[in-house]
Amino acid sequence: MRRGFRINQDFVSGLMFVGWGVAGLWVGRDYPVGSALRMGAGYMPRLLCWGLVLLGIVIAIKGAMVAGERIERWHWRPLLVVSAAVLAFAFLLEPGGLLVAILAIVVIGALGGPEFRLHEALILAAGLAVGAVAIFVYGLKLPLPIWPVWLV
């Protein structure tokens, strides 16, 4: 029952685990290993990384041999746009204040969703901004700047 090589979920996950293991071994190449009785900082990382490499190889081989589940198509748009929205919030929060950051995360985030409507996103951002300032800043007294730094 040879079906030839097929890219499937298990094969790729196997490779991914091997990748993690190899990366971990490389980054941690200088960590002192010590011995089983007096373990150094590198003992566990090395053990785990080799474990990952080994498991990954087995998973990949098993995956390549059977017709496993295919990987569904990737949808890059929501992935990248929504990540960008979160990152924008992270970078804008401290210099730009909560209001600017909320505007960014909500509007950019909504771009990644279905049926983007600008006016709707703006209204949502405004509503959330009021709620967030009330709950987080006044209610819970989180140290969040509301306004941009250069305004205060």
Partner: protein
Amino acid sequence: MEILDNLIFGFGVSLSPQNILFCFIGAMVGTLIGVLPGIGPLATLAMLLPATFYLPPVPALIMLAGIYYGAQYGGSTTAILVNMPGESSSVVTCLDGYQMARNGRAGAALAIAALGSLFAGTVATLLIAVASPPLSRLALKFLAAEYFSLMVLGLVGSVVLARGSLLKAVAMVFLGLLLGLVGTDVNSGRERFTFEIPMLGDGIGFVVVAMGLFGLAEIFANLEKKEQRKADAVIGSLMPTREEFRRAIPAVLRGTTLGSILGVLPGGGALLASFAAYAFEKKVSRNPEKFGHGAVEGVAAPEAANNAGAQTSFIPLLTLGIPGNPVMALMIGAMMIQGISPGPQVMTQQPELFWGIITSMWVGNLMLVIINLPMIGMWVQLLKVPYRLLFPSILLLCAVGVYSLNNSTFEIALTALFGLMGYVFYKLGCEPAPLVLGFILGPLMEENLRRAMLLSRGDPLVFVQRPISLVLLLMAVGLLLLVVLPTFRKTREEAFKE
């Protein structure tokens, strides 16, 4: 019937109008911060600490305790509704709670979570009243060797959490363990996998990982299915069916037992409780294939366990003055502000404090159910909000929540990275739950392993010479055999082919 007298005395304290008021405030605030993902009881307690300077000790501590268990309670709400674990203890609730919500059983899931928590809280309260001293001795018996063995058992058990391939689950546990090592190694002080980023010096935050892998990844996955969730917005009846109750009750009983025991152990006991309860439930279930697809037991057991654990984690604090987790350490701070030094003498020297707090926990749990049951209808309405409006709001809550942990924008960015990772895992059919458990247990396991070896001067026999440690290791071996035994594996694979 000394216990009864004590409880009556305690209720006399906790039912005074002033104490009821502060209990209510605590429960309310706790529910609120529990619902908000990321914003945990720790930060809130710290912020309220100065306010307690001006309160008498009993109401102050009743309020702080209320916030703590209220948060455990509220945490399940977002986990069920939007797959966003509001508190670290509700990660497991996501697994089946969210699936229940997608099947139109959000109301039932919330109600089961609430009632299960109330039951667990009641049992745990009684347990604290009756069995505090022996249980606190158990906490003192748990030293490095025992912790290591407990972690081993937990890891073996974590494989059970997954529904797909066994090997992939093991690999995910390994990956979780590895990610857990990021940060400064406690034993040598060396930084590992930090890439010279100071913000990684203390490791990656648990909430960052959980929020990314569960919350954000779920948003990515949902968005690619477009407005598919419109179809999910069918909201069934709010109350659980008779059948759901029938399945939930034994699960609650088991969850309460596990949670009560694990909660007593300092250092992550309560957190482990919900995972352990879930894994156990899946193990004993006659149809484990239902887990992960909206099994009511998968909500009932962990919710009962985390509430029971939250409660019993007060035992080492009240009886020994030993804080089991950072929140308890803050409670000690609060007690010391009031001029009380926590320890075994509290019970005898300040009975009104000791019994007042204990009974207030029950009062608080009752209040939580009274506050929350009517709110279920409201929460469920949230699912009717079109997803295109709902998900940006979730993003915001998630970002603010992560920031509030350490006031670090870096962690928000890191959460996005874990969201991407979660999406990759989703596409590759790798389940994040075993990874999360490995992530929690990894550093604790390594720390305790190396500490135990240091203390035994390199003698590995220490793990089998100590009775509790031996029993735990034997249990781990037994579970391992059960998992790898061919017959078992066969049924397991069959179960997943359905």
